[in-house]
Symmetry: C2
Subunit: 143 residues, 2 copies
């Protein structure tokens, strides 16, 4: 018995990526659209619980989304792996103490990326890059 709350936005994205449109996938994708912040598999599963799908399904969904180019990994130096919408490409400052994440909007590493490829012997193309800054946020600095 499928639910039918599929929005056009999500269905189109999935179809465009050549992925079957399933409730689980739509649900996971909506989480990222609703909250444009880095999310982990566990966080997504908890947000969708108790009606949501199994954790394993969430993991598999995230993998297929990454492979399809819908999501990209973000290294927040936490225990788990975080993902973010690939369309919403930007970088972060992360507090190594409390985990606070702040976005950095303008940051053209693209230019750098090209320079890097032309200077490389072993690589001919870059698919993705990660640029994150780490420090203590103002609250944590006080302590």
């Amino acid at each position: 018995m499928p639910m039918h709350k599929h929005t056009h936005n999500e269905i189109e994205t999935l179809r465009g990526a050549g992925l079957k449109v399933t409730d689980a996938r739509v649900a996971v994708l909506s989480q990222f659209i609703k909250k444009p912040i880095p999310l982990s598999a566990l966080e997504i599963q908890q947000a969708l619980a108790p009606s949501g799908s199994d954790v394993v399904t969430v993991y598999r969904t995230l993998s297929s989304f990454e492979e399809a180019g819908i999501l990209r990994k973000v290294d927040l130096r936490r225990e788990a792996v975080y993902y973010e919408l690939a369309s919403h490409h930007h970088h972060h400052i992360v507090c190594t103490d409390c985990g606070l994440v702040e976005d950095i909007e303008d940051c053209d590493v693209e230019i750098l990326s090209k320079k890097v490829v032309s200077g490389s012997k072993k690589f001919s193309a870059i698919k993705d890059h990660a640029l994150e800054f780490f420090g203590l946020c103002r609250s944590c600095v006080k302590r």
Copy 2:
């Protein structure tokens, strides 16, 4: 019965960081000095086996080294956490297929780093940053 192969280089580094000079620490540190590439806890332990110390000790050593500023984390998008000598600061291109790592020598993110801080509301200082590029190496592209 301690061994006495401690080199000056390693002892000085440990003393300078305010850490006790132990066989385990010297052994771990030498691995990084010998091989200036990113290393994981397991890799280090295997390289030192069977005479080396327990894996737990390696984990604790790596943590204390990072806190002391001797090592820095590197995100290679593998299962395990990798470390590298903080003094040997540079970035990488990583093959997402076979794991090949190539160094990028010149890459001044320092300037960028300052710009980022001055533009931030929640952070007043950056301690570290990570910039890594991901793609397929020439060998993996062929397949």
